[in-house]
């Protein structure tokens, strides 16, 4: 089951780390980085059901 309630305890810290990662990158480099990050996270989740649900949630 996809968790859709708050689950990251330092939400602000995570958010700024996510943005910092893109510092100084061109638009294309940023897109590439995002793609890699999605793949890394997806593999960590692993569960196909959860992944499908996450995709539906993002599309919603």
């Amino acid at each position: 089951m996809l968790i859709t309630t708050p689950n990251i305890h330092d939400a602000d810290g995570f958010y700024s780390e996510l943005l910092d990662m893109h510092d100084g990158l061109s638009e294309n480099e940023s897109k590439a980085l995002n793609a890699r990050l999605i793949l890394v996270l997806a593999n960590h989740i692993g569960d196909r059901e959860v992944l499908a649900e996450a995709m539906r949630t993002a599309l919603d």
Binding site: K31, A32, A35, R36, I38, L39, V40, N43
Partner: protein, 533 residues
């Protein structure tokens, strides 16, 4: 020296149908003497079904075309009596390397598990493949088997009637008329038979061009499959290098969509491209060059009354994954025993509809895999390109990304899990040998299991004895295996159980299995497997 594909191997000669005052009717005519038509002809003739093959050509495939042949077709060829020369001549390989930009991303080893007679793959030029099939045809002819190959016989019109097919065939001596109870159409992706019958062939065209070159060179590259994504010598495109026998190398260079084909095919331009890839020091000769685009498509049905389509005529895939000829051989394997039972009056004609079910399932699996490979190799949008490159980037350091790298998912055998010919399985025997799967090879009784599955229905008794029930018209052989002597075999056929009985079809696919003996159940499973239920 003339290449084998330049020599007429089945030159035109006059045949009795041309001089007959009335129109002759044959049990089976096969259109097309490519890999699939020849395999079907051999299969039927071995079972004493008279078969005539007509082809508008008189020699083997021009240039190599298919080069990768997978384990399952090799096993089928063993049953057809010609696997050995192919494996002997072919190059066996296991290692594949993937490069991205100027670096090696990773390396994989296809090495199949031990305990199989045949390797995962061999590379062999299609012209040799066809030539060995022709050798086998000649041996069968010499043994008096009812097989005839007619070169320079081109089908020019066809009529699909209720109980026969009627054909007009053009030859150097003019047109003659002939009939067949059944016609197998193996006339390739452009299938004139399909077109003359006005049948559909729908699917997806991929907007891309590939330059394919077979190059003869004395190079000491290892016997491995090398695949490049976006290499310096072919920017933004892909490339493939693969070894064939006789010092011939297959080189595939993606060119993109907007190109001038005539210009690209000029030897000087091909040579310039190859030098960029191979460097200036290596000298080579071009054996065959072609530019192709590809398609993934299939017919809606493979059986149209008395006409049965097989191979590229029925379905077409992109070459990545080597699923074309490999799946066509599986079509023929699936069809021939069914056709024999129908011709012999033992099974109902509807058994042939299961050819449709099972092989359409196979074709869809191949089309799905080959479309996915193609989407990875030639991304269709900026975002698919970003993900593709992200996968390749990560794969260099991180194992998790490697299964997503798709430079072709190489052909694996088709498992007809849902086939109505199967008897539902209620055992806890290993899943790899479940009903619908092709029998998995294993060393047994001092030989190989698959060598003993030679074209009839078989009952495999493992650690258990029983009578083989008799079913009218079905020749049923029994193979007995005592447990405790063949650990690899037991792993595959017993798992945690002590006894097992398998019912295996003539095409070596498993139809039913049990852990104890019940004659009625076995009889019912046989009837079901021949479409009588």
């Amino acid at each position: 020296m003339a290449k084998i594909f330049e020599i007429p191997l089945y030159p035109y000669t006059r045949n009795p149908d041309q001089d007959s005052p009335k129109t002759n009717r044959h049990p089976v005519i096969i259109v097309g003497a490519g890999p699939v038509g020849l395999a079907a002809a051999i299969d039927l003739a071995q079972q004493d079904i008279p078969v005539v093959v007509v082809d508008d050509n008189d020699r083997v495939s021009f240039g190599s075309r298919a080069i990768c042949f997978a384990k399952r077709p090799l096993e089928i060829l063993d049953r057809l009596g010609c696997g050995e020369p192919m494996v002997e001549k072919g190059v066996t390989w296991n290692i594949g390397k993937v490069f991205f930009d100027d670096r090696q991303t990773y390396e994989f080893n296809l090495l199949a598990e031990d305990g199989h007679k045949r390797p995962a793959f061999i590379n062999l030029q299609q012209y040799y493949f066809e030539a060995y099939l022709m050798d086998r045809v000649r041996v069968l002819e010499a043994e008096g088997k009812p097989i005839e190959i007619r070169g320079k016989n081109k089908v020019v019109s066809i009529e699909n009637n209720d109980d026969h097919v009627s054909l007009q065939i053009d030859t150097p001596d003019g047109v003659y008329q002939v009939e067949a109870e059944w016609l197998i159409s193996c006339d390739g992706a452009g299938s004139p038979v399909r077109q003359m019958l006005g049948l559909d062939f729908v699917g997806r065209v991929f907007e891309d061009n590939f330059l394919i070159a077979d190059v003869v060179m004395d190079a000491d590259f290892p016997t491995e499959r090398w695949f490049w994504f976006n290499p310096p010598f072919n920017r933004d495109q892909s490339a493939l290098l693969h070894k064939q026998p006789d010092g011939v190398w297959r080189i595939d260079l993606q060119l993109g969509w907007d190109i001038d084909k005539a210009e690209e095919k000029k030897p000087e331009n091909v040579i310039r491209r190859l030098k960029q890839m191979l460097g200036d020091e290596i000298s080579f000769d071009l054996e065959w060059v072609s530019i192709y685009t590809f398609q993934c498509r299939r017919m809606e049905k493979f059986r149209h009354n008395r006409v049965l389509f097989a191979g590229d005529a029925a379905h077409q895939v992109s070459p990545f994954g080597a699923r074309g000829a490999n799946s066509g051989i599986q079509d023929s394997d699936n069809l021939c025993w069914k056709l024999k039972l129908v011709l012999d009056g033992i099974a109902p004609e509807t058994l042939l509809d299961t050819y449709d079910d099972e092989r359409i399932y196979g074709a869809d699996e191949n089309i799905l895999n080959s479309s996915r490979s193609t989407d990875f190799i030639t991304p269709k949008s900026a975002v698919s390109r970003q993900f593709r490159d992200a996968v390749l980037h990560l794969a260099e350091k991180h194992e998790f990304a490697r299964p997503m790298v798709n430079s072709g998912r190489l052909s694996v055998p088709c498992i007809y899990s849902e086939s109505r010919l199967n008897t539902p399985d209620s055992t806890k025997l290993p899943t790899s040998t479940r009903p619908g799967a092709p029998a998995v090879d294993a060393p047994v009784n001092e030989g190989w299991l698959l060598d003993q599955l030679n074209g009839d229905f078989k009952l495999l008794f493992v650690g258990i004895n029983g009578e083989s029930p008799s079913v009218a018209g079905i020749h049923l052989d029994v193979i007995e295996v005592q447990p405790g002597q063949n650990p690899v075999f037991e792993d595959r056929y017993l798992g945690d159980e002590d006894t097992a009985i398998y019912l295996i079809r003539p095409d070596q696919h498993i139809a039913a299995r049990w852990t104890s003996y019940d004659e009625t159940e076995i009889r019912n499973a046989i009837l079901r497997a021949i479409g009588q239920e």
